[in-house]
Symmetry: C2
Subunit: 476 residues, 2 copies
């Protein structure tokens, strides 16, 4: 058993705190290849729960899972020019099999738009074949210069949805539906509030017509793009010549979308809910919801009996783990805390004699003695409360730290204070570049509704009226 290390307080050094939390929570190990990580059981189990819940929602929407090969031939890569330009320098390139050189290079997928384009091309003839609504769970590779566990890795895990439609309106609607599904999923399951909106042209996905995003606020005030949905229009279908016969019996290029969520979410989870004792996992997504700690196991046979009883009883409805080791109570408690288990139940000799156990919340450290007969119902209710309150606290933080300003001086000041700053803004890509250079902030999105004022503003740069309000922030 590894000794627990000290965690740097988050207000002191956020980056170091993040690394300490990950290490102590036994979430990852660094991989042998630059910028890669190993997902250990504690982090992979969270990802599996995310998969299970999202799959359930996907299936309700008729989304079908598939698996496409990981290697992309070079003649595919070069077909959609804007798309390839966005990824070319990061492409992991296969040139040999054993020591034999290949005639044409192959690339490990950085994303699979071009592979799906080829699949769609082979599978559609008429509007009757459409839509096709596919998703896959895979790993992808993008060689990154600076990496950060979960947030930016050379290899990461994700789901990527790819759809093809006979009607632009249907594809546009699905693009928006998916970003809303993501927003709701983060809100309900990860207890993470996000601002939903559209990317500016400078920030959109390479090859997309428009990109929607959900932006979360980390505890240090920085934004984390947590999910995206792209309307690809006919960009890929024109490049790959994907046509179908429409109702008028004419050939038409099809309309596509793509959308994804990745293991970045594990980083978002840590930096939204974590504290100076480590990660805090929302109950709905926690691999272990309740830790039962047997204190001084050998002292009193009633303690072991109560632990056995509680385990059996709680397991019927909850994900439970029991620590029967002979470690000291303080160590057991710290070990449960550092792994972010929402509730721990301490079963000790004195409590048991009184017919109670001590229940401790991970998020607030609230401690309560609860009668054994009612402890299951008590915990079930408490888990619902914890989930809700974790979301409420994160939402209050997001709202308290999002401001609207009307001039550049205030903008610079608020960005320096690590706020989310919304401004009326009709500038172009160059303007955004200048802002980034001067303040470090980028345009995160044009929010759908969040804090969007109803009256028309004045662009803080051009001083012309601007109906477009843009959220700026420093970002991961």
């Amino acid at each position: 058993m590894k000794k627990l290390d000290k965690i740097t307080p988050w207000k002191e050094d956020f980056a170091q705190w993040y690394v300490d939390v990950i290490k102590n929570g036994q979430l990852i190990e660094y991989g042998p290849v630059k910028g890669t990580i190993i997902f250990k059981p504690n982090s992979y189990a969270i990802w599996e729960n995310i998969q299970t819940e999202l799959n359930r929602k996907f299936k309700q929407k008729g989304i079908q899972n598939v698996y496409l090969p990981m290697l992309i031939p070079d003649f595919f890569i070069n077909t959609e020019k804007e798309h390839v330009a966005g990824f070319a320098p990061e492409l992991v390139t296969v040139t040999h099999i054993g020591d034999k050189k290949l005639h044409n290079n192959l690339y490990i997928r950085p994303t699979s738009e071009v592979l799906f384009a080829d699949l769609f091309k082979k599978n559609i003839e008429s509007y009757k074949d459409l839509p096709l609504i596919y998703n896959q769970w895979t790993s992808v590779m993008r060689w990154e210069k600076t990496t950060n566990p979960f947030l930016r890795n050379s290899e990461f895990l994700w789901q990527e949805g790819h759809t093809i439609h006979s009607e632009a309106t249907e594809a546009r609607k699905l693009t928006r539906d998916m970003i809303k599904l993501y927003e709701k999923f983060l809100r309900k399951y990860l207890a993470i509030p996000t601002i939903i909106g559209k990317k500016t042209p400078r920030e959109k996905f390479a090859g997309a017509c428009s990109t929607y995003t959900i932006e979360a606020m980390m505890k240090d005030g920085k934004a984390l793009q947590s999910g995206t949905s792209h309307y690809l229009a006919q960009n890929f279908s024109r490049a790959f010549k994907i046509t179908f016969t429409n109702k008028k019996n004419e050939d038409e290029f099809a309309y596509q979308t793509s959308w994804g969520l990745s293991t970045r979410l594990l980083g978002a989870l840590i930096m939204t809910h974590g504290d100076d004792s480590g990660i805090v996992i929302p109950p709905k997504i926690a691999p272990i919801q309740v830790d039962i700690l047997e204190l001084f196991p050998s002292k009193n046979p009633k303690v072991s009996k109560t632990v056995d009883h509680l385990e059996k009883w709680l397991l019927k409805k909850l994900r439970v783990r029991v620590d029967r080791s002979d470690n000291l109570p303080g160590y057991k408690a710290a070990n449960s805390e550092i792994q972010g288990v929402p509730i721990r139940v301490e079963v000790g000799p004195k409590d048991v004699e009184e017919g109670v156990v001590t229940v401790v919340r991970r998020d607030t450290f609230e401690k309560e003695k609860v009668k054994i007969e009612i402890v299951r119902e008590w915990i079930e209710e408490k888990l619902i409360q914890i989930q809700e309150q974790m979301y409420q606290r994160a939402k209050e933080r997001l709202e308290a730290n999002t401001v609207i300003v009307s001039n550049y001086e205030d903008f610079k000041k608020e960005i320096a204070n690590n706020k989310f700053v919304i401004i009326p803004f009709n500038g172009d890509e160059k303007e955004e570049e200048r802002i980034q250079k001067e303040t470090g902030a980028t345009a995160r999105c044009i929010p759908f509704k969040y804090l969007k004022p109803t009256d028309e503003g004045t662009c803080i740069f051009s001083r012309k009226p601007s109906k477009r309000y843009v959220l700026f922030a420093k970002a991961y």
Copy 2:
């Protein structure tokens, strides 16, 4: 909607039949890179069900899922000599990022023993840290010269388990436990009987001390290795210097195992149960267990009402799909058959007037009129029967086509007849090579018990007594 093609009868041309079944069942599409396949919804959904059931069993055994990166650095690859020799010519080699050359080549994992060795090395110090029992679901790459969908592909999906122990006996036991778990899983869920046994030294996994296997018999009499479990002893721990402090406070090399099942199982499924109408999927693993076909939807409002009612009612316990299209009844039935759905319920105007529906079994084509009030219970029972009978039929075929012989002439004759042939055999690798050259058969395994005679035999080559009975067959 693609038109259904004719399926070549399996007794006429088994290889062509296999390809026809896959194509008509909409199971795959060939990938753009040589030897790769795209898992379409119909095949991927079967794999997902296999994953779900195996994960449930793995978790009961305390196996933890993890994810390790896909790229292996060259200094890892060269550490275990026997292992690397087994894979070197098939290794997919990364030399560049974008157009920049890497200092050291990287390889896409053909399997992950060396990556787990490195992870274990970082995570164990004392016998108290052991065992670690990990599994991962991934894709792996081995560049194959001749490929065959599901059976042999350059990229395939699998689970690979990797464990490390302080005691050889514990590791040996786990190796055998896993092959038994696989045997039971195939028997209970895929309705595939297998012969469980140990590989001869010639056929064992590169780097293993011993390899256990389950061998299934396809309808053409060929063997398909369907799962393997390897006792690695200290081979990798010596090469990677993975030591732990044992109870005597001495440093000791740890003991390892690895084991895996792959998407080959989809090929096994087709070639065990398929017939001239296509794939037949066992109910427990079928993505759709019941197809409800609405016949002549517009003719009688009672039909639609009955279909709606049945759908709602059956969905409570079963995986159900409804075909409400205006295609003709014959087409709908053929479409359900060709996708191997275990039961279809035909709801037509005449039947409905009489208060019945027509239920058809996919495996036997048995047709029966069943009263609507009892149809759910009837189907539930029938699905259990189908599962059992599919297994029984496959088992009878396996037993009827497995023989024991005592001389080489009979051996050659039976192998030519596509039988599984068991012989007393104490020959070495060279002898096995000669047999393969002369008959096309390889040593599949030394069976644990199946058809193993109790008295001591005489090796059919050396004419010396042999306690070792070996199963030979032609194989995929």
